[in-house]
């Protein structure tokens, strides 16, 4: 065990994103407590997020760096934090008009959002079980509050409470499993830092421990359905990608994909989540539920890239890590965008606009919104011109290199099912409407421009990545390189 040195100024610089998020959360919370003006709180949240983004540039000069044994700030951590901060910025922009149209408690949403992001950021840079647990619980507490945020509302209160309790129970079980898994791993190798853990060769017992570890994480990953749109976006993008990144880091460091049982288990999970997620999404008429189920399927796709890690390490190429990063980026942008549009439509009145029929003929009423939504859906379906396609292309590349043929076949089947419900939505958007009924949804008078900006930017980023993906690929390559060096050293 290394002695803990005092924190140097360089360490502080690399920690800047986390520090600014933590300070920002407190500041925004205080503002929300004393100056209860929705606009002010939202503005300060935006400022905190922008400062965090700027601080990433400074931190980027010092990476990779291990700050205390707990945190490892490297390209992967910064890539994930940048991605999630941008997503949170978009969520803030969307949330403002959404809450403006409602008579809920509005201000508390923003500190909770920042807290969730802080937890996710800690997870993304965790290099130690303690940091993992801290990050996970910070994220979990914020998410629990967000899930049951709507409790006071007349119409959706009961459902909101139900969602919160469900989440609390599930995350409690997951944490318990996770802790149990950690204890077992500690008993096995006496270490808690990721890179110190090595799988004892050819013993069947530790595989069970690691199965427990993954059992905990997998439960965390399980998609949950939420009623409040911006919350759904937070859940979908922040928690899943942060947990995924920590998994990635852990697996590369500990090389635990070598265990065939674990590999097999993950193959089964990936296959099932692709098929079941898509199949359940097929049954939905509610867009938010549809997107939530489809996100389970996307997690399955992501696991394909994750499983390709094993083959990728053999060929000593970072393709699988790259595929994970790209797919994650595409997925976060796209999901946030899709939820943004549902919130945008819901911001026009106090009603939630989330049933497919509410979107019939949207293209003829609001061509640009519908067009942006089409791009998001095509990206989710993985059609070219969008980021989703680049992600899918990477999946195919990584899967092919690792020779995961059966999973790729399931991926194709899953995509086929997925296409059906995405196309069903797109068809609804472009349904011919009887002349005269073209202006059904009148504006409620609240300003929608922040949400429009968020949707427009997300759609443009989506297209840009789809048409010219090289810059993003270079970032992903950097992520892969740093992790590869570590993985290589760990295997020695």
């Amino acid at each position: 065990m290394n002695p803990v040195p005092f924190i140097s100024s360089t360490d502080l610089i690399t920690l800047l994103p986390l520090i600014s998020l933590a300070t920002g959360t407190v500041v925004v919370m205080l503002i929300a407590a004393f100056a209860r003006r929705h606009g002010t709180v939202a503005q300060f949240t935006g400022i905190v997020l922008i400062i965090t983004l700027c601080s990433l540039a400074y931190a980027g000069k010092e990476i990779p760096r291990t700050v205390t044994p707990l945190l490892q700030i490297d390209a992967l951590a910064l890539f994930t934090i940048a991605l999630l901060t941008l997503a949170s910025l978009a969520i803030t922009l969307i949330a403002y008009p959404y809450f403006q149209a409602r008579t809920l408690h509005r201000e508390e949403f923003y500190p909770l959002l920042l807290l969730a992001l802080l937890g996710a950021a800690a997870l993304a840079s965790a290099n130690h079980f303690a940091a993992l647990l801290l990050g996970l619980e910070t994220l979990g507490v914020a998410l629990f509050c967000l899930a049951s945020y709507n409790t006071r509302s007349q119409s959706a209160g009961a459902k909101s409470l139900e969602a919160g309790i469900k989440y609390l129970v599930l995350s409690g079980i997951a944490s318990a499993l996770l802790l149990f898994g950690m204890a077992l791993i500690y008993a096995q190798c006496g270490q808690l830092a990721f890179d110190a853990i090595t799988l004892p060769p050819a013993v069947s017992a530790p595989a069970v421990d690691i199965v427990l570890f993954y059992g905990g994480s997998a439960l965390m990953l399980a998609g949950l359905c939420f009623k409040l749109s911006p919350v759904s976006a937070v859940i979908a993008s922040l928690s899943k990608s942060a947990v995924f990144v920590v998994l990635l880091r852990y697996v590369i460091a500990s090389d635990s994909l070598q265990s065939p049982q674990l590999f097999g288990l993950l193959v089964i999970i990936a296959g099932l989540s692709m098929l079941v997620g898509n199949w359940l999404a097929l049954m939905q008429d509610n867009i938010k539920r549809l997107l939530a189920y489809s996100s389970i399927a996307h997690l399955g796709y992501l696991l394909v890239a994750f499983l390709a890690l094993q083959g990728s390490l053999e060929h000593n190429s970072g393709l699988a890590v790259e595929a994970c990063s790209i797919y994650l980026a595409a997925y976060v942008i796209t999901t946030t965008g899709a939820f943004a549009i549902v919130s945008l439509q819901s911001s026009r009145s106090e009603q939630e606009v989330e049933h497919i029929r509410d979107y019939n003929g949207l293209f003829w009423r609001r061509p640009l919104t519908a067009l942006a939504f089409t791009f998001m859906l095509l990206s989710l379906a993985g059609i070219p011109l969008t980021a989703g396609f680049i992600g899918k292309f990477y999946l195919f590349s990584a899967g092919t290199q690792a020779g995961l043929w059966s999973l790729l076949a399931i991926l194709i089947a899953g995509s086929g099912i997925g296409l059906f419900y995405y196309l069903r939505l797109i068809t609804a958007l472009y349904k011919k409407v009887a002349p005269g009924s073209e202006n059904l949804d009148a504006d409620s008078g609240t300003t929608l421009s922040p949400a429009y900006i968020a949707v427009a930017v997300l759609a443009l980023v989506l297209l840009l990545v789809g048409v010219y993906p090289q810059p993003l690929m270079e970032q992903a390559q950097r992520v892969a390189e740093t992790l590869q060096i570590k993985g290589h050293m760990a295997s020695k």
Binding site: T400, L408, I412, G416, L423, T427, K432, Q470
Partner: protein, 537 residues
Amino acid sequence: MLLVNLIAILFIAGTLCWWIESYNAQAPRWIALAALVIDLCLLAGLIPTLITDSESAVAAGTWMLQWQAPWIPRFGISFFLALDGLSLLMLSLTIFLGLIAVATAWKEITYRPGFFYFNLLWTLAGVIGIFTALDLFLFFFFWEIMLIPMYFIIAIWGHERRTYAAIKFFIFTQVSGLFMLLAMVALVFVHYRQSGNLTFNYFDLLQTTLSPELGYWIMLGFFIAFVVKLPSFPFHTWLPDAHTQAPTAGSVILAGVLLKTGAYGLLRFVIGLFPQAAQEFAPVAMTLGVISVLYGASMAFAQQDVKRLVAYSSISHMGFITLGVFAFNAQAYQGALMTMLAHGLSSAALFAIAGGLQYRLHTRNMNRMGGFWLTTPRLGAITLFFCLAALGLPGLANFIGEFLVLLGSFQSHATLTVIAALGMIAAPVYALMVIQKIYHGTYTSETTSDSTSESPPKSVTEEIPDTANSDTDGRELGYFSALIVITVYLGFFPQATLQIAQPALNNLLNTARSTPSSVVARINKQPCNCTIRYQQP
């Protein structure tokens, strides 16, 4: 640069159509027409160089134009377009039929015309991309890009069951496309392991040596995608629905152009990249082709719906192409190419006729029609001409194509060819049935009163009184006569057209021959006098 311009003009004009719609509903169709005419002129500008250089082109290489720019260096992907004789003919067909499609849509499309022409032009731009892309990633990119606007054309402007048909069309093509993507990536990584060079360039990938088993699987991925698009027998079920439900212009593009992308893909990629695997697979593929010929013809005979009938006849004609492509000799390739062109023209014309009938009668059910010759003799004569073309009357383009296919494939697989030739008997049966049911018999005016049950778009319903009994107008006569002239020209003077594609076809044949295979050796022993002037070994 010309190739990029061809695509860019259509993309830009399409966007312009959409934008201008809110200012002037008449403008989009003129813009679409202008864009396609410009493209046609650009292509026509190539022809003089082609004729003078044809001898040297054969000697020097087959590629007339190339344009390359780096796109995604990470994977060695470039924006690589090139044109050879095969592509040139396909491009000409695409743009010409694009003009026909605009002409058929001229009056039919009244709902959101700007967005319609946007989709039409983007589909065509995607197809041009497919016919010229020589980077596999770029090819796949265009392959998928083309789907989305076509989906919208069917889903928005289609007939009664448009949603079902559009989704079926999209899912069939997309899922089969994913198999192709998988095969592409696998091929690229095999090549990467051999040469250490990660690239999607067609010419580089030609150098890959594949083990027979791996080559077979990779070839199969491409084969599935193209055969679904073609379509061939077990994968055809999307086609009757999509064709029937699409608006006339959509059917014209689908039948005339989109199906040919499958045939082109078989020639360029399946035969070009996997000559050996393709030869081993040839008996299976040819059998599928023969089944398509007979199955399509017999299904066509059983249809009540004019458009469905034409759709099934397309499956039958596409069967000849599969047969020809996998016969591995010059006559069969020429035949497949000629069938592609001829079927493009004749099926486009037949769908335009079916569209014209529906515009007048508001039904596609042939049992409700009859004695129509009395009121529209000109349309009747045109229908008769294209039915004769479709059934393979000598002197018209389709005959040349199917004859050469049968001639060529007889040398490589006599039994299958004999069975496929039965399709030539079935074709007159369904083609003449069309004439008999629609134009002969007693005239029934009952047809128009049924229009409500078919629920056409509202805007069309209002125009019933004027259109029911009117014969072809100047616009219709114009595009039908253009189609007739070209069909006759190709029927009487096929040599000039085949000459253009000859270097490209020879190239393909040479790659196929250079691989050691007993099949090819057997074919080449047999000389053939009758079409020797087409062959330029």
